[in-house]
């Protein structure tokens, strides 16, 4: 029996979720740090896009191999690579400095992201607890 059967897809999926959510947190932090930077354009990481992209599978993409440590890093086909988009600028902004960070939206997104990260962590944790229970035979 492969470990894939034992752990099913849940753990790898949740792991990816945790990974993406921590990345998104970084994006949101960068937006907040730059809230007063003139002409800063807010970024966003759309997790739904990343999940569908991961779901399509990168099986038919042949990864480039680095044969020397001094070769340029190839990150194009890596599963770790995410695509950052520019967040939609608020429709009506009275700021004259060209900054497109919407503080309320960013803080809301951040709260949502944090909660969902905690949810995923909780589910993984429970999953492991369940496995442990089974291993111990319910003793």
């Amino acid at each position: 029996m492969s470990s894939n059967n034992l752990f099913s897809e849940t753990i790898s999926f949740l792991e990816r979720s945790l990974n993406l959510r921590s990345k998104r947190h970084r994006v949101l932090s960068a937006n907040i740090a730059n809230i007063d930077t003139p002409n800063y354009k807010a970024f966003d990481l759309v997790l739904e896009d990343e999940f569908t992209r991961a779901g399509q599978g990168s099986g038919n993409i042949m990864p480039l191999k680095r044969t020397h440590t001094h070769h340029l890093p190839v990150t194009g086909a890596s599963a770790d690579r995410v695509t950052l988009k520019h967040a939609k600028a608020p429709e009506f902004s009275l700021r004259g400095d060209g900054n497109t960070v919407d503080l309320d939206k960013t803080m809301g997104d951040m709260a949502e992201n944090t909660l969902l990260f905690k949810t995923a962590a909780q589910i993984i944790s429970k999953k492991f607890q369940g496995l442990k229970e089974v291993i111990k035979g319910g003793k």
Binding site: H25, A33, D36, T106, M107
Partner: protein
């Protein structure tokens, strides 16, 4: 590690906002200063924020470009307000010119207070981001416990 990068980014935001608050405090404290080392009345100072990645060498910039290009905030300059001093008639002032006018710093209390509140709020937003990052990292540490 994304959490540590997030913490560094927020820390850069915190320190930029704190510097801005310090400059505003300096402006408020010197609202009536008529003598400075450079001569003339005090001039109000303001930070210039710029979004900057913390990488410097070509390799670092290239790899940053290939992964993601999230910029940190950095104070690249502190500029002095070049507007003319406000002339105030006060013949008894030691710095008064022969017509009895004293050049006072061109500092608007309202403007400084509004900037102070904005800086405080931005600082708080960064603090929230730090807290959220910490909470998430702690939650991740609980996996398997």
């Amino acid at each position: 590690m994304d959490f540590f990068d997030a913490l560094h980014t927020s820390a850069a935001g915190l320190s930029a906002q704190r510097l801005r608050m310090n400059l505003i405090s300096g402006n408020l404290a010197n609202a009536h200063t008529t003598r400075t080392e450079e001569g003339g009345p005090y001039r109000r100072r303001e930070p210039v924020f710029a979004a900057q990645t913390e990488n410097s060498s070509f390799g670092e910039i290239l790899s940053a470009y290939q992964t993601d290009m999230l910029p940190q905030v950095k104070v690249i300059d502190i500029v002095e307000d070049q507007s003319a001093p406000v002339l105030k008639y006060d013949p008894n002032h030691p710095d008064a010119d022969e017509r009895g006018y004293v050049g006072m710093p061109n500092i608007n209390l309202m403007e400084e207070m509004v900037n102070l509140i904005t800086a405080t709020r931005s600082y708080e937003a960064n603090v929230s981001a730090v807290k959220a990052a910490k909470e998430m990292a702690l939650k991740a540490l609980e996996i398997g416990r």
